[in-house]
């Protein structure tokens, strides 16, 4: 489930889905820790990807 090859879009939409579940109380308490851990992982993944993309773009624009 948590492979690093997941795309930004997929990671972000999964993150959104967890948040929606949290907001709507649809999430089982049993799974809460697991989901929160997943959300934290996805958040970190998205942030890392964004940083990497940002750095790439900065480099491309900077050198063009």
């Amino acid at each position: 489930m948590d492979n690093d090859n997941i795309s930004y879009e997929k990671a972000y939409s999964e993150l959104e889905a967890i948040i929606n579940q949290l907001e709507s109380d649809a999430l089982s308490i049993e799974l809460l820790a697991e989901k929160v851990s997943r959300a934290a992982y996805l958040l970190e993944l998205c942030t890392q990807k964004m940083r990497s993309i940002e750095a790439d773009i900065q480099q491309i624009i900077g050198t063009s």
Partner: protein, 413 residues
């Protein structure tokens, strides 16, 4: 009987006398030339008259002669060789002396010719044919054939001895524009009765040739009206009119216009004018190509310029937009980061609330609550066992109530 018999000579002499008496003066005679040959400076003619109308039936015929002296005189009068004038089929008005020779018979000795009569007749014939051309619309078809954009393969009906043709070739080949032309000469007779025949034969030859000609030229330099009369042939006109290749004529001088000129696709004044026209035509084509090249260059430059501007805009956008997207996304992620703990805490709090509620619900039914409501629990001692069937007097029991407990002894059962 004997006195009534004439010797042939006597008869001849008598006839000669009759002629001499009756035809002392020269007389003007109009006739058509049916034959003409010049032998040792003497012109022998055969004069005829045909029946009125279209019929070719000959109703009169006489031999005529122009002696050498008269021939010279007439050459000077017409300012051209008389032989060109004396064409078969032509109508002439001649001043003749009727001569009867006892040995050679009757002969008309021509002393003078009225060229105005012949020209008038020719003009009249020409007028009739011109009318026919317009009635039959012979002047239209060849004009409708489009001229090739570039003219290179040229069939020329002319004669390489003719000055007009040589001028044409010179003009064309010496062009400063360096245009190359491929000329094929189809020799024709440029005056006299052979014009019609040779033009018709050579037009047919052009169609049989392997070369697909761009244009056919009929060229002839200047000459007298009578010289050019051969090109007034209705047969030539019909052939030009129905010819599948564009025909350009350059016949005669500035003022001349033959019937061939009328039916030709393009009629120009002189062979030189034809050469100039061809050069101008090809030059026009080259100019149009150059114009196109300029236009292509201009359009291309414009396109490149436009593309460059677009690219610059794209470059500008590229430098801004991704960062905006990244900023937005970063903001979103930051929001999530801040929001997520609260969300989790809220979720947990909700669970806690739920749990405490349940706890309260359960508490309602616990022992202590029962005691609070005034109940008490009595258990057997020792060991706090529940009361059972075995209880007896003197057994010790412990009673627990809301405020505490006390021991008692069973007095009775």
């Amino acid at each position: 009987m004997e006195s009534n018999i004439f010797s042939l000579y006597d008869l001849g002499t008598l006839i000669k006398r009759v002629f001499s008496l009756n035809f002392q003066d020269k007389i003007w005679v109009k006739a058509e030339i049916a034959g003409c040959k010049v032998v040792r400076g003497i012109a022998y003619l055969e004069l005829i008259e045909k029946e009125e109308g279209q019929s070719d039936k000959i109703i009169a015929q006489q031999s005529a002669v122009i002696w050498q002296g008269t021939l010279h005189k007439l050459n000077e009068k017409l300012s051209e060789p008389i032989t060109g004038f004396l064409e078969i089929g032509r109508e002439i008005l001649v001043l003749v002396q009727i001569d009867f020779n006892v040995r050679y018979g009757l002969k008309l000795v021509i002393d003078d010719i009225d060229p105005a009569y012949t020209l008038g007749k020719l003009f009249q014939q020409r007028q009739e044919l011109e009318k026919l051309i317009f009635t039959e619309k012979l002047h239209e078809p060849n004009k409708l054939i489009p001229l090739a954009p570039v003219i290179q393969r040229i069939a020329v009906l002319s004669n390489d001895q003719a000055a007009g043709y040589q001028d044409f070739v010179h003009q064309l080949n010496e062009n400063t524009l360096n245009y190359a032309f491929s000329l094929t000469l189809f020799p024709i007779s440029l005056q006299g009765t052979l014009v019609e025949e040779t033009v018709l034969i050579q037009l047919a030859e052009i169609l049989k040739a392997d070369t697909a000609f761009d244009v056919v030229l009929i060229l002839r330099g200047g000459g007298s009206k009578l010289d050019l009369a051969g090109f007034d042939s209705i047969k030539i006109c019909r052939a030009i009119s129905s010819f599948p290749i564009k025909i350009i004529t350059g016949i005669g001088h500035e003022v001349d216009e033959t019937l061939s000129d009328i039916v030709a696709g393009i009629s120009l004044k002189t062979p030189t004018a034809v050469a100039e026209y061809l050069l101008y035509h090809n030059q026009n084509f080259e100019a149009s190509i150059q114009k196109m090249v300029l236009k292509i260059n201009e359009k291309t430059r414009y396109k490149v310029q436009q593309s460059k501007l677009k690219l610059l805009r794209c470059q500008h956008e590229l430098s801004l937009r991704p960062m905006r997207v990244i900023d937005r996304t970063n903001t979103k992620l930051q929001n999530i980061k801040q929001y997520l703990p609260n969300l989790i805490i809220n979720r947990l709090k909700k669970e806690e609330v739920k749990l405490s509620f349940l706890q309260r619900l359960i508490g309602l039914v616990t022992i202590s609550n029962t005691l609070k409501r005034g109940f008490s629990i009595t258990q057997l001692l020792p060991g706090n066992k529940p009361l059972n069937e075995s209880i007896m007097p003197n057994m010790e029991v412990e009673t627990i109530w809301e405020k505490g407990s006390f021991r008692s002894i069973i007095i009775d059962k």
